[in-house]
């Protein structure tokens, strides 16, 4: 992993907002240009620093949403009620405005095309962000690894990357995308809205299913699982995954914050 080979300090870099895209009524994607950016692996994050006129500054972590792409990178931020940093990033910052960031950070919650074998991504709320980077990286790299995304959002209006996900689900072979809604769903949904349940998650491969026998990834390698979201979501999802037969040591987690999502 390149993240683990890095030596020397992570410098603060100047980043400029190029453009932004509205994802939901309270979230947006920021496209930043960061001269000197060294590239990143899907799943890594940056530390963002905002400094006020009077010198006061605040730092927070944000996952990188985009696949590696020169000196550009995208973050997707959910505005948290009465938050200090996220409302600025979602509502106030204008194209041309600047912030500082450093990274990439995190050499554990990462995926690259060098990893063969099936992948299960489980995201809740803004926890979709680093998982989207993995999905985008898979497509960019032309990897054939089977990917299954289970994305939990409050309602269809709270889904990030709506069109792109639909497009990927339709066009990319080997990618399965399941959305589940916790508060309210769409007309005609088979699943009634509610928190993540065991049956929303695929069972571990290697389990004998009466119809087909052991599933494909059995001998080839166990499914790697990445879970990201608010702490309560990650706790619930990991316990359910273990119930579904996924060994604890294949599950990697990233916890974003106390509540919400």
């Amino acid at each position: 992993m390149s993240g683990s080979l890095r030596r020397g300090a992570l410098r603060w870099l100047r980043a400029r907002l190029e453009a932004s895209r509205t994802e939901t009524t309270s979230a947006r994607t920021l496209r930043l240009t960061v001269p000197g950016w060294s590239g990143h692996e899907a799943g890594q994050h940056v530390d963002v620093k905002l400094t006020a006129e009077d010198g006061y500054s605040a730092q927070r972590s944000y996952s990188i949403a985009s696949a590696a792409d020169g000196d550009g990178l995208e973050l997707t931020v959910q505005a948290v009620d009465r938050g200090e940093v996220s409302p600025y990033l979602v509502e106030v910052m204008q194209p041309g405005d600047e912030l500082e960031l450093r990274g990439p950070i995190g050499g554990w919650f990462t995926w690259s095309a060098k990893l063969s074998g099936p992948i299960l991504l489980v995201g809740g709320g803004s926890g979709i962000v680093p998982l989207m980077a993995m999905l985008r990286q898979r497509i960019r790299a032309g990897s054939a690894s089977p990917f299954h995304l289970v994305y939990s959002a409050r309602s269809p209006d709270h889904v990030f990357y709506q069109d792109e996900l639909q497009d990927i689900g339709r066009r990319s072979r080997g990618v399965t995308i399941d959305k589940i809604f916790t508060r309210s769903g769409s007309l005609g949904d088979e699943r009634s809205p509610g928190r993540l349940r065991a049956e929303d998650l695929p069972a571990a491969s290697g389990e004998i299913s009466p119809a087909t026998g052991p599933t494909a990834s059995d001998a080839a390698g166990r499914t790697r699982v990445y879970v990201c979201g608010p702490t309560a979501f990650v706790e619930r999802a990991t316990q359910l995954l273990i119930e579904r037969g996924h060994p604890a040591d294949v599950i990697r987690t990233e916890r974003f914050g106390p509540t919400g999502g």
Binding site: R6, L50, A52, D97, G106, G107, W108, D249, T253, P258
Partner: protein, 199 residues
């Protein structure tokens, strides 16, 4: 040179001398772990102390409970930027586990259920600077926060305060632990903002 983010005011909460640089205060108790929460029964709980000559002392839960413990209140600082002030814990000082050994070790590699590890200079674990804690805020320590027992080294970033601990490997040389091998700082002093390698 500092880059001003136009239109950012921040909470400008003033500078509380208890809060290290780059941190903010939270009343929540967020969680950082690399994988699933470990659930360990106290009946099965073991804690191995391995000295540099390979000799090993094993502690059961019963023996840990029989040791004198203390309640103390400290501030904690997570590398993901939150700090929590005035948290109250109960635990056994690490020095009372190690004092009898007369070890010549310089470093410790702390091991955990689930495979996590973290490295700490031995002197940072002694003299009332670190505890094996099993109570938080007057109640049993929740598995999400490292129960039944975690290390607490409040003067370093909280990833050093390993959850679900099951042993200390005493060493002459420093071997990097889990996050320390993945780009995080080998020591992790929040007052020097030692978050990542090279800070």
């Amino acid at each position: 040179m500092s880059v001003i983010s136009r239109g950012f005011g921040g909470r400008g909460s003033g500078s509380d001398p208890r809060v290290p640089p780059g941190q903010y205060v939270t009343d929540d108790f967020p969680v950082l772990s690399a994988g699933p929460t470990q659930y360990v029964d106290t009946e099965d709980w073991r804690f191995d102390i391995t000295d540099i000559d390979g000799s090993r002392t094993t502690l059961t839960w019963e023996r840990l409970m029989a040791l004198p413990s203390e309640e103390f209140t400290v501030d904690i600082h997570c590398v993901t930027k939150w700090s929590k002030l005035g948290t109250t814990w109960r635990g056994v000082p690490v020095s009372s586990l190690l004092d009898g050994l007369g070890t010549e070790a310089e470093y410790a590699l702390v091991h955990c259920y689930g495979g996590y590890s973290t490295n700490i200079p031995l002197e940072d674990l002694l003299d009332g600077k670190a505890w094996i804690v099993f109570e938080y805020d007057g109640g049993e320590l929740d598995p999400v926060h490292g129960g039944p027992a975690r290390l607490l080294v409040p003067h370093l970033y909280l990833w050093k305060s390993a959850k679900w601990v099951n042993g200390i490997e005493l060493r002459l040389d420093e071997q990097l632990g889990f996050w320390e091998s993945l780009g995080y700082h080998e020591y992790g002093d929040p007052w020097l903002e030692q978050r990542y390698i090279g800070d």
